[in-house]
């Protein structure tokens, strides 16, 4: 078992969804139930593989890449098929494998217009391959391929199954992220050409492991900064960081519920993960110079995202804007370049994935019941659909960082880490960031509770008074219960994630100090 996992575990987790997608392509479109079953089975199989990986992961050596494979792939540019996971990628891999089956379960009875479960589920599975692949890839080109592979299914998901302005939103999403990716691939290519071994001979490698060992030694300062800038564009747009976030509210708002959930839960994390996995370890010196600016954009994002939330009239768009604020906390944690901060950032990624995913699920269900998400027209959800109302309250509380729920562990340690950033960073600047970020928690409480008050409290508006609103469906229970449970469990016992990430993060931060 262990041998099989070592050799094939990650590859299986990555490509099983593609296999499922191919199978589904061969099945007739009319047999919708079959498609659903195949999709669910496939994603469950991926989940099972990841659980097996989790069970066999060596938690005492989280800083070591495990289940690694290193095969030749595109030998002409020495790009290799290198996969492996350590403590940094494991939580995100698990999150992805966890979310996708839930999304498929949620889809079971409500596919957005124009229906077509076959195409929708195939896209979901292709998306899963892209996401899983991104988290396990240890070669820059391989990473890039998966990173880009994610774009297309999501583009179609928004463009075909989305809301009224789907075309604008999907094109914007695609082009904006592709623009960032273009700069990122430039940066990757430059690394390939510029990285030199100890003897001065060019490395000509895309291997993240080797490049992280190289750490930009002998690279001119400006070149390093520019290359980091290229990666910053790719990852920063994906996160998205202020001021590159404008694609996000449109994409989130127009995407079907399932798309929004996946976007929030996993896609945004590709960017932050890129910083932690690639940009910072490979170019630590440049990272140190960029860090104050990243921190600045992060805290601007925290406040700005919150203000954006307060101005929204649409529930889904508000949740989308809250992502800008939350990812600000994650980026602040990363910008401190401390183990505490980066641990918090990874925790924050998982927590935000679960919590905001949950919020989007609820928003989707509200939309389905009321056919509107305009906050002004809603009210009294707790009266008409009490369970959904309570879950909205729960998720709002989790989202505003209530201790005891998962959101807290992404927020508080990130703020804490800003008090004393890594050596070489300006402490005073980061302390200002710390206070601003702490202020952001007040705003977060403000907009989330205001949303809760207007949507869940009070009595239904005249329009919906007396209307029968169905509370949660069976699929809602099945899809949401695991997420709720995980939000609580992680909140109560954060070590479930911290002990996985800590070893790897400490190692990578120590490497920065050299």
């Amino acid at each position: 078992m262990k041998d099989l996992l070592n050799g094939w575990g990650l590859t299986a987790a990555t490509f099983l969804p593609l296999v499922g997608a191919v199978v589904m392509m061969l099945l007739p479109k009319a047999d919708e139930a079959l498609h659903k079953v195949v999709a669910l089975l496939t994603s469950s199989a991926v989940f099972a593989v990841v659980v097996a990986l989790l069970a066999n992961f060596d938690y005492d050596r989280t800083r070591v890449l495990q289940f690694g494979q290193n095969r030749s792939w595109i030998s002409v540019i020495n790009s290799r098929y290198i996969v492996g996971i350590d403590g940094i990628s494991l939580p995100l891999l698990a999150l992805t494998a966890f979310i996708v089956p839930l999304v498929i379960i949620y889809s079971w009875d409500h596919f957005p217009e124009p229906h077509n479960p076959k195409a929708f589920l195939i896209l979901t599975l292709v998306l899963e391959t892209g996401m899983v692949g991104t988290f396990v890839a240890q070669d820059l080109i391989l990473f890039f391929v998966f990173f880009e592979l994610v774009l297309l299914p999501m583009y179609f998901m928004i463009g075909v199954w989305g809301g009224e302005q789907r075309q604008y939103a999907s094109i914007k999403f695609f082009l904006y992220t592709a623009f960032g990716s273009a700069l990122m691939i430039v940066a990757f290519l430059s690394l390939y050409f510029l990285a030199k071994g100890p003897g001065g001979a060019p490395l000509h490698t895309f291997s993240m492991i080797e490049l992280s060992r190289w750490q930009g030694a002998g690279l001119a300062r400006v070149t390093g900064l520019v290359i980091f800038g290229g990666m910053f564009a790719g990852f920063g747009i994906k996160v998205p960081m202020f001021p590159f976030h404008t694609w996000l509210p449109d994409a989130h708002t127009q995407a079907p519920t399932q798309g929004s959930v996946i976007l929030a839960a996993v896609l945004l994390k590709l960017g932050t993960y890129g910083f932690v996995r690639i940009a910072i370890p490979i170019l630590p010196a440049a990272a140190r110079e960029w860090a104050p600016w990243i921190g600045l954009l992060a805290v601007i994002g925290i406040i700005y995202g919150a203000l954006g939330c307060l101005a929204q009239t649409d529930m889904k768009r508000m949740i989308a804007f809250s992502s800008v604020a939350h990812m600000g906390f994650v980026m602040l944690g990363i910008a401190t370049l401390t183990s505490f901060g980066i641990n918090a950032a990874i925790f924050g990624m998982v927590a935000h994935g679960l919590i905001t995913g949950m919020l989007f699920f609820i928003a989707g269900s509200v939309k389905e019941r009321y056919h509107t998400l305009e906050i002004r027209r809603l009210g009294g959800l707790l009266l008409q659909a009490p369970r959904m109302g309570w879950l909205l309250g729960f998720s709002a509380m989790a989202s505003l960082g209530l201790p005891g729920l998962a959101g807290f562990w992404g927020e508080f340690p990130a703020i804490l880490a800003a008090y004393q950033p890594a050596a070489g960073l300006n402490q005073n600047v980061f302390r200002v960031y710390m206070v601003v970020a702490a202020l952001g928690t007040v705003f977060a409480a403000g907009y989330l509770l205001w949303l809760l008050q207007r949507v869940a409290f009070g009595v239904p508006t005249e329009e919906f008074v007396g209307e029968h609103v169905h509370d949660m469906h069976l699929t809602d229970y099945l899809a949401w219960a695991p997420m709720i449970a995980l939000i609580v469990v992680l909140g109560v016992y954060p070590n479930l994630i911290f002990r996985i990430t800590d070893g790897a993060v400490v190692q990578s931060v120590t490497a920065l100090g050299r």
């Binding site: 124009p114 195939i122 199954w161 691939i185 070149t223 404008t246 007040v442 409290f457 070590n495």
Partner: protein, 759 residues
């Protein structure tokens, strides 16, 4: 028993889950689970209290020097007994200090800290006997690993000492009484089960909070009680004012939480990356933390105290919080949660004591905040017509006394007042609830009450006892504790440095007497009005009156737990006097000693003057209301009086400032402006770039590349047809085109990079 204290908060947490899960299916809607749990909790808490008393009476022999050294030297590991990482599966062992496997150990907290603050020093000067030469009694600490980060393991756990044992008994007892009371008071409520569930959750959080062993856990408890407060204030959320009040409470507290978070972070780094309270305190006490850091931490934390404990200018949420059910007001917004700020200061007292240089007659922020609050809060109580609001402002004012006491160095006085206040104010609130229950759920004492003393004798007498204690009539409990606060203001802090606080305290006593007498007049005397007149109210049943009588009974006697030993009281045997101080005040290196920390001494003239001020207040109010004497109608005649009344009526304008100006402008113009920037500026750039790219694309398409692009469009169009119906040819075409351009551009750029870098 002391090491198993974690069971006490774990039980109500379990009860919360159970009530939510099965409460609705039970005959009593889940209240029976809550009641039973709280009864058990109370018994256990008393057990802890007894255990602690025994520990103080016969302190354990520990090798303190070694333990203390370990606590202060270990930089990278937590100083307590924690030695193991709990396996990942033990999810239960987290916020609730519990879990299957625990590393356990008595805390390093002995006397003889490195600064050499000997046991005798604390009792120097005019200090009283009793504590000074006693042996150190370390706290009982039990921890489990909570999480690790940066290679450091952080713990959650319990810390039992006199302070936490006292709070355990207090919280569980009042919560138990409130549970009993609620079974009648909220009977038939639309959300009876939820109500009890949240009472359980609140109790669990509060108990966890008082048992906390680390500052991080303290933050968790602090926020969780805030959540329960939010949920219970907004219990009847169908009505907008209630949910507004709930939001206001939560958000105001969040403002204070900025201070909490920042303060705790500063302390974390100051103590060499540790959340451990004993370690932080010991280091602060031993002078191992720079004074500036302690000052910054204290000032930040005071912001948190101001919001949680309703101190002026962040007190505005507390009167609004009366929108919740009355038992909740008694439990959360009078007796327990609002004293969390006091408790936090008391817990981290060395930090405040050194940070604010309390022992040296410095007029410090803590004392000023308390003094201002106690007077300003009391003044506001005069103009309320809602009995609960009178009591709420009274709570604000009394919390001001406690904060002031801490500010002048009267640690014991503050905690003693916390206890007496908890009982008499809970008694008053429950009394108000009892009246409202009998008078059509109205709280407007001017409109709907009057002459209730004959109709509701039990409520009347218990309310009178509570009022007497609040006004500090000897020998009721409030007298003893308030007198100790005033004595602290008089005698502590160098050569009488806090005389101004003494004056404020006496003014406060006068005001307290006035507004309470006014409230008593409106409620119990005169002719029945409004609801009370329409349907003659009747005394409530035993589930309401018994808790009242219990609380009133405690109010009668609780003051005697800290009888002074000197002056008029020198005849009191040592075994009876100052029991509270003896058992509650920690005697270990994690508590202040030396540096001017002393105990106040009983000063007869202060007792006489403050009681006199109280009686004068009662007398004046009596003349005004009962006899109709005094300048009635002055607010209509005199401009100054009218202006003063207006200021009070508008609550100093703070609500307008917060709600309309600050929140209003952030929610309105500022948020809209930010969004305008988002849409017009940031997104404008993006859209503009897109438009220009499209133009360029058209140019290229029309003029140069038509054939090639056509092929791509047709090809992708065919696939799109298969997958979705709505895709437009043109749209896919665009994406592909731009993708191609982007990659071409990327290649060119890469080439430029490489050439540049090669030079």
């Amino acid at each position: 028993m002391l090491t198993y204290a974690w069971i006490i908060p774990a039980l109500p947490a379990l009860s919360f889950v159970l009530i939510l899960a099965v409460g609705k299916r039970l005959p009593k809607g889940g209240s029976e689970i809550g009641l039973a749990t709280l009864a058990v909790c109370f018994v256990l808490a008393v057990g802890v209290g007894v255990g602690w008393v025994q520990r103080v009476n016969s302190p354990p022999k520990v090798d303190e020097a070694a333990l203390t050294a370990r606590s202060l030297a270990g930089q990278e590991t937590t100083p307590s007994g924690e030695r193991r990482v709990a396996p990942a599966g033990e999810a239960g062992a987290g916020a609730l200090p519990g879990g299957a496997r625990t590393g356990e150990g008595a805390a390093p907290g002995g006397e003889g800290s490195p600064a050499g603050a000997g046991a005798g020093e604390g009792g120097a000067g005019q200090g009283e006997a009793g504590t000074a030469e006693a042996a150190p009694v370390p706290a009982v600490v039990r921890t489990v690993t909570w999480f690790q980060s940066g290679g450091v393991r952080f713990t959650a756990g319990t810390m039992v000492d006199g302070l936490s044992a006292m709070m355990l008994v207090l919280v569980s007892l009042i919560s138990l009484l409130v549970h009993v009371y609620s079974t009648d008071y909220v009977a038939g409520d639309r959300r009876y089960t939820h109500y009890f569930a949240f009472l359980s959750l609140f109790t669990a959080s509060m108990l966890m909070f008082v048992l906390t062993q680390s500052t991080l856990q303290l933050i968790v408890g602090w926020e969780l009680v805030g959540l329960c407060s939010f949920a219970l204030i907004g219990h009847w959320w169908e009505e907008k004012p209630n949910s507004n009040a709930a939001l206001k409470a939560f958000i105001t507290n969040r403002v204070g939480d900025i201070g909490l978070i920042v303060g705790m972070i500063v302390l974390y780094f100051a103590a060499g990356r540790s959340f451990d309270i004993i370690r932080i305190n010991s280091m602060a006490n031993a002078g191992q933390i720079r004074h500036l850091l302690l000052l910054v931490a204290s000032v930040s934390l005071i912001a948190a105290v101001m919001s949680k404990s309703g101190q002026f200018i962040l007190h505005t949420w507390l009167p609004d919080a009366m929108a919740g059910p009355t038992p909740v007001s008694a439990l959360i917004h009078a007796a327990t949660m609002v004293v969390a700020g006091i408790y936090m200061v008391a817990r981290l007292y060395p930090v405040f004591f050194r940070g604010l240089s309390i022992g040296t007659a410095n007029i410090n922020l803590l004392a000023v905040v308390g003094a201002v609050t106690l007077v300003f809060g009391a003044l506001l109580a005069f103009v309320q017509s809602d009995i609960k609001k009178v009591l709420a402002y009274s709570t604000v004012s009394q919390l001001g006394y406690m904060v002031m006491a801490l500010g002048v160095g009267g640690w014991t006085a503050a905690l003693f007042h916390l206890v007496t206040h908890a009982f008499f104010k809970a008694c008053l609130f429950l009394g108000a609830g009892s009246m409202s229950h009998a008078c059509h759920h109205s709280f407007d004492m001017k409109k709907d009450y009057g002459g209730l003393r004959r109709r509701m004798p039990i409520t009347f007498w218990t309310f009178m006892i509570g009022t007497g204690a609040l006004v500090a009539i000897p020998p009721l409990s409030g007298f003893w504790s308030k007198d100790e606060i005033l004595a602290s203001a008089n005698g502590l802090g160098g050569p009488g440095g806090y005389k101004i606080m003494l004056v404020m305290g006496i003014i406060g006593a006068f005001c307290t007497a006035g507004y309470m007498t006014r409230a008593v007049w409106y409620c119990f005397f005169g002719e029945p009005r409004g609801a009370a007149a329409e349907h003659p109210p009747r005394e409530n049943g035993p589930r309401i009156t018994v808790p009242l009588m219990v609380l009133a009974g405690i109010t009668l006697v609780i003051g005697f737990v800290n009888v002074p030993t000197n002056g008029w009281f020198s005849w009191v045997p040592d075994g009876w006097a100052l029991r509270f101080e003896n058992y509650v005040q920690p005697r270990a290196a994690y508590f202040v000693s030396g540096g001017g920390f002393r105990q106040p001494v009983f000063t007869p003239w202060i007792a006489v003057v403050s009681t006199g001020a109280g009686l004068l207040g009662v007398l004046l109010a009596y003349l005004w209301f009962w006899r109709g004497l005094g300048p009635h109608g002055i607010t209509a005649r005199n401009r100054v009086a009218r202006a003063g009344y207006r200021v009070l009526e508008s609550r100093y304008g703070l609500d307008v400032l917060y709600t309309d100006w600050i929140v209003g402008s952030i929610k309105g113009p500022i948020a809209r402006a930010a969004y305008w920037v988002n849409q017009k500026v940031l997104d404008g750039v993006v859209n503009g770039a897109g438009r220009e790219a499209v133009k360029a694309g058209h140019f290229v398409y029309d003029r140069i590349d038509q054939g090639v692009v056509d092929t791509i469009v047709n090809g992708s169009g065919a696939t799109a047809e298969g997958s979705g119906q709505i895709l437009r040819k043109q749209q896919t075409g665009r994406v592909q085109t731009y993708g191609a351009y982007l990659f071409a551009g990327a290649t060119v750029l890469a080439a430029i990079f490489v050439i540049l870098a090669a030079n």
